[in-house]
Symmetry: C2
Amino acid sequence: MKKATSWTYKISIIMCLMIASTKSYALSDQDLTQIQMLKETALSSNLAYEIDESLTTEVGARRVGTVNDKRAVDWATAKMKQLGFDKVWTEEVTHIKWIRGTVEAKIISPYPQNMVAIALGGSVGTPKDGIKADVVEFENFAALEAAAPNSLKGKIAFISFRMERKIDGSGYEPAVKSRGDGPSMAASKGAIALLIRSVGTDDNRVAHTGGLSYQDGIAKIPAAALSNPDADMLQRQVARGAAVKVFLKLTAERKDETPVITANVIGEITGSESPDDYVVIGAHLDSWDVGTGAVDDGIGVAVTLAAAHHIANLKERPKRSLRVILFAAEEVGLVGAKQYVMDNKDHMDRHIIGAEWDFGTGLIYEMEPGVGPSALNTIRELAELLAPLGVSLNPKNTAKGDSDMSALGNAGMPAVNFSPDGLQYFDYHHTENDTLDKVDPEALKQNTAVFTIFSYFATQSDVDFRK
Amino acid sequence: MKKATSWTYKISIIMCLMIASTKSYALSDQDLTQIQMLKETALSSNLAYEIDESLTTEVGARRVGTVNDKRAVDWATAKMKQLGFDKVWTEEVTHIKWIRGTVEAKIISPYPQNMVAIALGGSVGTPKDGIKADVVEFENFAALEAAAPNSLKGKIAFISFRMERKIDGSGYEPAVKSRGDGPSMAASKGAIALLIRSVGTDDNRVAHTGGLSYQDGIAKIPAAALSNPDADMLQRQVARGAAVKVFLKLTAERKDETPVITANVIGEITGSESPDDYVVIGAHLDSWDVGTGAVDDGIGVAVTLAAAHHIANLKERPKRSLRVILFAAEEVGLVGAKQYVMDNKDHMDRHIIGAEWDFGTGLIYEMEPGVGPSALNTIRELAELLAPLGVSLNPKNTAKGDSDMSALGNAGMPAVNFSPDGLQYFDYHHTENDTLDKVDPEALKQNTAVFTIFSYFATQSDVDFRK
């Protein structure tokens, strides 16, 4: 990183001079100098790592509706005040209660073996003595979908599809369909439970949780994910040809009638000229209840707070306001983000542009905008500022905002999506292994530099990114 | 591997010719040709992997005294018969009963966090409601040893020493002292329980078990290992300065008066000229009760059985007998190996030389003998045969036999120790992660080739390795 920094510094100076030589750009010479200084600050500061260390150590896992979720809201509120935000407030978010309970999964025959499994988020439990049934394996969701009606009566469906490791995380989408839509699809064929291979790229005996989505009008069946080595084991036993009987017991409980209350936590650096125009950067504050959420989305929380702090530390406020939104209840379906859009619908058009950070742990290598055609030139200027950090411009211009920010993007807000090296991300995602040791302090510095530059650039310019 | 094979093949032929040009060598030209053919067979056969796949899938974890331990003995007996051994028998081994029970470990204050922990093998349980006590951290065993008498009264001692990753596994010894001797040392200072950082090199939220050794006359206190990320967490909380209180509940039970019965499983390829002279290769059949023992010591079981099978498949039996000993109860203190020495004491002097394989998962890069001075020249011949496989000779000549084989080595048997690349080994050792996906089929081929060559060389020569 050191080498890159000194090299990028020289390039930046040259670029500064080049930009300074014309007048048709979004930012002034002074602003561009400011950006170089902000970049140096971000690249040399350990603040983002310290924030994540604080969150992971002092709060830890913070699933929506748990005691720790409330502790996280208090932590975030206090942290924002400490970091120099001008305004800090919360906006209430509600969700339904879910109790994870315990899980027991084992092969009974032909060869008894314990399996490491985890309930999918939102799953119902099994009957209290568990269930014993033969397993029917499907190589992917499409194969399950193609099964004849009633063909799984009394059986446990098992989708053995393995997620592929790809730098852009694009292996996730084809795999996660089994988790989201698998339970209702299996139930529609008569299955009494669903097991899936974890949606993850690791080979640890640690299973990956994540939300499921029951379809209305179809029986809700219990659903759990097996760790990759356990899915291998189950496949090996199935491949031997004899019937494979599994015992599964989940004590999970859905309390669809019991609301839980949490909150989006919002901090603002108030703009000096257009305080009612908002540039937003965000991440989600909630996590799953396994691991400590140091990566998902402790990294996003840390990077966005640190970026805002570096801007708050400047002598003068930028022209527009910068909002950091730490969204509630992302893991259960962008609930906090949708609530934010509802709560802020009257001034959604004053949300100038936004970016989410919810895909640590690597270096950002690409930026894709989703802006109006005439704002693309401005984005190119931003891209030139980010290029020395290793960030290239994807000119497709179809971004709608990542993760929570997609709710704001769908409500008309222009967005920028940043893509990092995601090769390791799905080793830890939604597992006990999402802990601080997986966070790379050097990558956080680069991430923070990118978000700091983006934030300053967008708050200090007066470009309308919708146009 | 392919590239290495064809290259090694050419070298081997040249070496063959060189060796064939004199008469003072241990093996005949025909034997050396046989060895080249055995090597090619081992390098192209998937048998060792198939054996390990069978053991891990059809038996799985097999801690001494469990139902699965008995299943493993049956599996091994049947497998040896199937693989063409001339004689297969078992020799009874007894040990005491231990029940793992469950573990619950969490930080209560200042910042509540769950911790992933595992009882050390042989640990007593806590009182049934668990214990709550402040933690006192020690950076290593020596620091605990230096603590004043009674200074830990009512406390939980915590040794945070982290094992180093080294190719030869030499990080293990300085770390494992905390596991073996830590409980009694902590108790001698008044502690009511011991927590150690797992003896392992990974960063998974998966804790490493392994045996402890209570000292006579000192109170037996419960002892557990934390996963590396949890040990990090506990250290971070301790580093903040306030008292850190931990809840620990183990339901483990020692049944010192209740014997459990298991067996060494022994297979023999009977020698054609000196059937009562034994070359022995070995591994241990038992495992811990976490993971499936695919690595520890499924790899050793697979490699030694496959090596013997390749020799059993030859048209003629070698001169001396080859014994494969699959030892019982290694994990609890070489119990099966010590029993073997007692059971075979009358003909221990007919045990010509032995080698154990209990340190998969990598390629073997070194061999160290422990033989009489005049046998060293013969070992050099063996080394020349192994060199093309990447195995160099460590001429120190101090080997006493690895693992179980050390019991036979201490009883006077010459030995050869093979050292593999052990960089990954302690990521999986004694954890749930010891599963088949950690086994490298290509490394198994090389390992099997080494053991096949060693076995044929020693059974077909008439050198006295004691001299």
